[in-house]
Amino acid sequence: MPSKTSHTSIALIGNPNSGKSTLFNSLTGLHQKTGNYSGVTVDKHYGTYQLNGIEYQITDLPGTYSLYPKSMDEEVACKALLNEQEKIDVVVIVVDSSNLKRHLLLATQVIDLKKPCVMVLNMIDEAEKNNIIIYKEELEKLLGIKVITTNSRKKEGIKELKEAITQAKNSDSIFYNFEKQKQLFPQADSYKQVITSQFNNTKQNSSDIKAFELADNIHRFAKINYIVAKCIKQPKQLSKSHTQKLDSFFTHKFFGFAFFFFVLFIIFQFIFYVAEYPMTWIEEGFAQLMSFTANALPAGQLNDLVVNGILAGISGIVVFVPQIALLFFFIAILEDTGYMARASFILDKVMRRFGLNGKSVIPMISSVACAVPSIMSTRTITNWKDRIITILVTPLISCSARLPVYTLLISIMFAGKQTFLGFNYQGLVLMAMYVLGFVAALLAAYILKRVLKTEEKSYFIMELPVYRKPQWQTVAMLVFDKVKVFLFDAGKIILAISVVLWFLTTHAPGNAFEEIDKKAQASHITLSEESINAEKLEASYAGVLGKKMEPIIKPLGFDWKIGIALITSFAAREVFVGTMATIYSSGDSENTETLREKLIAEKNFETQQPSYSNAVCWSLLVFYVFAMQCMSTLATTYRETKHWKWPAIQLVFMTGLAYLSSFAIYSVFS
């Protein structure tokens, strides 16, 4: 009798679009987790189920077309399958019943690894609807393994599959090109050894592998053609299907683009406007929690750390959840229905010129709301180089956090002036800033396309899956997953930086704060709390840093006050407005009217000229269009690339671009 603690480890492998994830969800239900394969940015999905007192651990490997990997995802799937440490007891091969011939390539490769296998003929209902008849017993005989038919969308066949897994056996059949193996790899004594050896990157080996792959796959397809002839009966001429009818609309030269822009419009509406409601609730909820905690804990350093450092930091993380959830809700539907591949298809020619991919469009448009969910959504881009370029340039597009900064600066510049040729000045400049961001993103992509070197060859050989109804469970799991990954992976980095920023603004070298308090008490006139706060901020580490920075930012027309705001707004760009309000002790940061008047009235101490001249405002505006003033974006970039190199590059190239542009603008205007 197996004890309670013993378990069987199962790997789920199959082509993309084989319905593998849906099957995984049906097997595990909610008993699943997402982890990470070490060193790469491929998510690892694993879960458990119980059968007859034994626990089964199941890993959903990334989709792959063969065991000769051509992308990062495919390499992860192959390595995980071959890794002895994973201790895989049973491999479940998932194939699309309507598309058996191509799917059998991977199936025969996996069978040749000589591990206990079960094959799943998934989505059998679709095949039946198309009058495709599969003789299951014959297929079992030829493949030498148990074959189960399932309709994972309706959870049919799941019980039988679980039963079959307990009895899985090695196949006696061999499909690989034995002759070619003896010729090219005489020292190998199994197919598994040949497949494992492709990860030894010697030059001779890699050309041998390519030669073997070619001969092996052609050899396999000859056998597969025989199997297909024996086991499948399909109608000679299929009737004109709904996929073709839908394609003639979705890839139409007018309606195709019109529908795509409609999709963008809907996504945009939701992440820009609809998400604002839950975001406000989150902010208000945290504000209440913070004031409650502030009162509940004894006053002092710890209180301030918990409330204004940690809770404020967590609030700043949770506030992203609505946008992430909504964006991935739409992306999951677009992927699951098969529309995403069509959008990619119609836009490829345009995006290719900029080193981007058809699938880069949705992340780029979404970043008008926020770069964080956008960067997370680049997962759908399978080509590594296209994906990195999209991640790097996406934050150049003006996000909603820049809007309060733009509005404040533009209102200073155009106070009084109303229209230009009948158009509102402020609106025109605001639009110009958005256009500037878009143009910069495309140009940066164009340059990066030429600069970035990659071993992975860029190609666009992509399956167009048949249209299917979205699976709500799959959609919900994806949304849940993405939110969790953001909260816990990117979240901890954001929280750490928030606490550092809190420390910088609330602590001062020596006893500067005490002296300010003492001075205030000794003063004959009662100083307002606002002016005390302004003095404290000036004395704090952030203030000291701001003053130290002044020589560096002076060529851009910025003084130390702006320097402090640049430091604090690294938490989020809109913090710029709040910090300026504190520095100019204009009270409530929600009310920018007083702040605007104070900034307009501000005079330079030496020259007696207005501090916020048009030159300074233009310079600052352009700085905020380009500069990487967002720790959450950097944390997300790290999470999505698994390397500090990429957020570092993003920071340097964006802030460098901002510096040079602002310098040029200030020099011209002043």
Partner: protein, 84 residues
């Protein structure tokens, strides 16, 4: 010899050989083998990429990639609709 990118919409052809080593490996694992019948099913609104029907499913690829597949055109004029 004609290559796949020169096919007209609805025309069918048989794959003869590949001219690019790397892409040929990718094509073969996607079921595009020498001797396999293919049909041009769709062209993107901007003229590129294209969609072919091969071994029972739809595959999209760029014209520059299609140019590495040498084919024999089967039906000079017939414009049949695609099945998938």
């Amino acid at each position: 010899m004609p290559t796949l990118d020169t096919l007209k919409l609805g025309q069918s052809a048989t794959i003869l050989e590949f001219t690019d080593d790397f892409l040929s490996l990718k094509f073969i694992e996607m079921g595009c083998l020498p001797g396999e019948k293919i049909k041009l099913c769709n062209i993107a609104p901007l003229g590129d990429p294209i969609v072919i029907e091969v071994s029972g499913y739809l595959l999209s690829l760029r014209k520059q990639e299609a140019a590495t597949i040498v084919v024999k055109i089967n039906s000079e004029n017939t414009v049949e609709s695609c099945a998938i």
